[in-house]
Symmetry: C2
Subunit: 645 residues, 2 copies
């Protein structure tokens, strides 16, 4: 009986799959031209029309294949991690899986599934990209990011610009030679240059994460590749606006003006929306409904992206800074459950999107039917992107090093910090080389290339696609080796950076840690107070490895789980102690400050932030709220006691 | 400067929105017929083509509007909850918001946004429905569900069938009268009957949740409305298969056979995939990578849905039972972090989908341009669905009551439980009336109605759409009042049902609770050991309301957070004690068993489950795994100690 059932289902599955592949006339996106207009009620001639049931079956199979690929990619990723194989990276495998399935789909008769799985730039920009960017912003180590902000901006803005221009010029000259009868305009060459200047934030960083590469290098490459995407999108769009117009010298400045306006407005949109969320959370009681709260946070962050894109601004920049602002302010106003939900859901969505993007790239190579491959052009482009990256990384690194050297010398002369400090290069040569190597291109380039217009669009798209896949395979596959060859510092444990893959119940709310002298080495509002001693897990572990807190395990657990109430009842005192504790922290932060002298320049913002912004945006006035103190347990407690109406 | 920026952005936004609305020729789904074929490289004539940038801007605005509606709906939901307004329900508001924005979009010139926001059945079935079903299955109170399984199946299967047939016959007769020149075939009438027999699981249940209605009534309506959807989909598809064929009497039996096969195979697919996940989790080390783990669990559950749909089976049934199986087995093999991530992500996705579905329904009323409204047909249909539901609920309730009475009398005569128990009706009259009232129709009906073929498809679609919206507004708006009128037991606290909207760190793994005599009243594997005493939050609350545990707060917290290690080290003893503790539990479960005598019939499964299935599917052989005991903290501990390779 069971056998019969299983046979029946297997038979049905094979039959349906076969039909999905063979049936040729089930395409709903391209209505056959002989069909009458939509208003004609006679449209529904049953002989001509695809049954929605069949249609749904096809889309089910397409989605099944996609999810199957995603599962394979994730499983490989687990397998690689488990076996400690680092020579092959999961993104490379994802691309290969995509290519294999793409090839199978291409070889099969029928085009319904092929059409469904083809790369769609609107789908990429609206569904796949936002989670990756949002999670990047949210998980960003803000201390490291803003400490290296100058370097990041330097590589992101002029770097991408140089790269795009160099690449555009080389391509224009090459095509002007007419060797492959590809003749593109200068604007198109620049467009391709812009698409191929977006470096990919995923592959390199997951390798860096696995090796725990020096946080500084990590942060610079991370920040660059994130902002990169936004900048090449803006550059691409700017180029497209100049299509058909004669390109003058003035248009470069016009483009730059447009670019800086776009960048700053987008940044502003993101920050304002992030602050809006913080204020909403602060001034409403929505934390009592954490389910609604976490939905709203996710939705409003996405609104930043779509609003920004809708206004012809850069959604990526907005979303990135919205994520940063959310983590910097709104995070502290959320309920505990929302803190956890938001963190995990951002991570999960980002993870799925990242893997899917590479599968999609692999699929695209075979399922996009119109591609025109010009081998020489591809080779020339592949070489030129290396040249272009070389031209942007090395001169700019020298510039950054020079700026930092001058700054440090000046600050030493001023005697601001009179210690005897050797002045190393801000970005030493091996870091520069690694940054050059980290210049593999990602899906943003391909998605942009889909927007290239003109006679040679499919030639250029094919070129971009192949070059992107090549860089991911070549540079992505050799990064681990390069880390060793270049003798880059690995195995760094960044104490600001709580590892993501362990269960932690987040930190107890920051303003509850005021009267804990033994834990107050961290700044009350900074990221650094993701203090490990706060997680239950650590408490649970205290029996086994007593290396996190100095108190005995039972003492610790008792301390930590009764503490919120002590501090809660003393919350007024805590607020009074607040400025004092911050001043005392300055001394303790000295070690860090010496390490990053440049940071002192941004100290004014930190002071402004702590004294003006945080009291406004964060929820510190607990006594007014009665039972609804900022930490969730009291809220729940009061909920149980039903002393709120 | 800032003012200028803000003005500039506002200007840009208005300009872009205006363009998005005004521009009329930016539709990419319907390529103009004069365009040459796709293979022609000259396709890219810049004058004819929509720039992908403009296209992306339009889709950004569409998405922005959608998310804005979603945010409004969620915010209203918070506002209603906060102000304790129960007369208006959030789903009704969602529909209204959708209608208002739909009207605005309809009145505006241009059709790009209108086309984008139109209800799309493939989008509904592939994106919006799965999270709702999956979360329902996962969050299901299994004890209550399977205790009332007979009633649920009775109302779901014959109930839906009766409802569809009655409705179909009434509609067929009415249209045959020819009063509105709508002349549909019997198969079409039955199709409409099937679409309008799917009751909506969202609105009623959220009201029931708010009022904490008696779990039994809740479970029956919940189970019915869930299975309902699956059954009406299968019935609809069966009807569609008979289109054009002469309907004979034999085809009814053929249809029923087809239906039962579909149902049982779908159920099997779901259960098998759920078990597969449990076995994968048990036999791999994937819990060391909770990020990958939670992605995989989500993806494999979705695979159940798409696989089932792809095989022409019922994805809903598969997904529902996959969710149930996941919670029943796989849950206990997950890492702690995945348990939390999966729970929260399912809830969040379901919440978003639920709200969105109603917004979509409201939008559809105005943005679907071809709808043909026939007022009389709509009124007749609205009345007939009440008649149809009446015909299914009341006779079947009597049947269920009779069956239970006979069963109870027999078990009393057999002396199995010789206590003096009064035999109340299984479903008393006020419950029956409430079930009748709970028959509001949902989005599944509309999504199915989009698949109706033939001359009158838009008439029938309009009818279904209006009737669905009417039932949601009328029945949904009056449910709260009916609860009072019918004197339904409210304010029930179901101790099996941990409230979702508070932060709980889930339960400590079941087999760690063996040597806790004071907490062992719960069955080690059942849902019931979501014991409140295990959540940190409760520990945190012990200071304030010492009503959960009898020990002092500090004692309690110390106990609970050091306990895992005691039990961990004694895990072998615990396993030896296991059978003994289960036997002793039978006595403690007596109270429950008396309440649900019918349950004794399913006792064999519970025994089989505990003795055979759970040892196979759950991860209990901890000693073999070295550091990787089933509870996550030791895994992480061993990770820290790096004693795994």
């Amino acid at each position: 009986m069971l056998q019969k059932l299983l046979f029946s289902i297997a038979y049905k599955a094979v039959w349906a799959a076969a039909r999905a592949v063979i049936t040729d006339d089930d395409d709903d996106s391209l209505l056959p031209p002989e069909l009458p207009g939509k208003d004609d009620p006679l449209l529904g001639d049953p002989a001509d029309e695809v049954s929605p049931i069949t249609e749904e079956m096809f889309s089910s199979w397409s989605l099944f294949i996609m999810l199957f690929l995603l599962i394979s990619a994730l499983w490989s990723s687990y397998y690689l991690a488990q076996r400690r194989i680092r020579a092959v990276h999961e993104t490379v495998l994802s691309i290969f899986y995509g290519m294999i399935i793409g090839l199978i789909i291409r070889m099969s008769p029928g085009h319904y599934i092929q059409d469904t799985v083809t790369f769609n730039s609107s789908y990429f920009f609206n569904v796949l990209l936002p989670p990756i960017i949002l999670n990047s912003g949210y998980e960003l180590n803000q201390v490291n990011f803003f400490n290296n902000f100058v370097s990041i901006l330097m590589f992101a803005i002029p770097g991408t610009f140089i790269s795009a221009v160099v690449l555009g010029i080389i391509l224009y000259i090459w095509t002007a030679l007419g060797l492959e009868s590809v003749n593109i305009s200068f604007v198109d060459a620049m467009s391709v240059g812009a698409t191929l200047s977006a470096t990919d934030p995923v592959t390199i960083l997951s390798i860096f994460n696995a090796y725990k590469v020096d946080p500084k290098l990590y942060t610079v490459i991370f920040g660059e590749s994130l902002l990169n995407d936004a900048i090449s999108i803006v550059m691409f769009e700017t180029c497209q606006k100049f299509r058909g117009q004669p390109a003058t010298f003035a248009s470069i400045f016009q483009g730059m003006g447009l670019f800086f306006m776009t960048f700053s407005i987008s940044l502003l949109i993101g920050v304002l929306i992030g602050i809006l969320v913080a204020l909403i959370l602060k001034h409403s009681h929505i934390r009592r409904y954490p389910e609604i709260e976490s939905c709203l946070i996710l939705l409003i962050a996405y609104e930043a992206y779509f609003f920004s894109n809708g206004c012809h601004m850069s959604g990526i920049v907005s979303l990135l800074f919205c994520g940063i602002t959310l983590k910097h302010y709104a995070y502290y106003n959320m309920s505990r459950r929302s803190q956890i939900t938001v963190k995990y859901i951002f991570q999960l969505l980002a993870r799925l999107s990242e893997n899917f993007v590479f599968i999609y790239l692999g699929l695209e190579l075979f399922t996009e039917v119109e591609l025109v491959y010009k081998p020489l052009l591809i080779i020339v482009t592949a070489i030129s992107i290396c040249i272009a990256r070389w031209c942007s990384i090395f001169p700019l690194s020298r510039l950054v090093n020079w700026i930092f050297r001058v700054k440090r010398q000046r600050s030493l002369q001023n005697g601001a910090l009179g210690q005897n400090i050797a002045i190393p290069d801000e970005i030493p040569y091996n870091y520069q080389m690694m940054m050059f190597w980290a210049g593999l291109r990602g899906a943003v380039g391909v998605a942009l290339a889909l927007g290239i217009q003109g006679e040679y669009k499919f030639t250029l798209l094919a070129t971009v696609l192949v070059v992107v896949v090549l860089t991911v395979i070549i540079f992505g596959g050799t990064t681990a080796g390069m880390l060793e060859i270049l003798n880059i510092k690995t195995g760094c444990i960044d104490e600001n950076d709580q590892s993501d893959d362990e269960f932690d119940i987040e930190d107890i709310r920051p303003n509850l840690s005021y009267n804990l002298p033994d834990l107050s080495t961290t700044h009350p509002y900074s990221d650094e107070n993701d203090s490990p001693a706060f997680s239950t897990e650590n408490v649970l572990l205290n029996d086994q490895n007593n290396n996190k807190t100095s108190v005995g395990p039972n003492e610790a657990s008792r301390n930590q789980f009764t503490r919120p109430f002590d501090s809660n009842s003393n919350v007024l005192d805590a607020n009074e102690d607040y400025s004092g504790s911050r001043i005392s922290l300055d001394g303790q932060n000295l070690k860090e400050t010496i390490g990053n002298i440049f940071r002192s320049d941004s100290q004014w913002f930190q002071n402004f932030d702590d004294n003006i912004l945080k009291p406004v945006f964060l929820d510190t006035n607990t006594p007014e709220r009665g039972g609804t103190t900022p930490s969730t347990p009291p809220v729940l407690g009061s909920r149980r006691n039903q002393n709120w109406k």
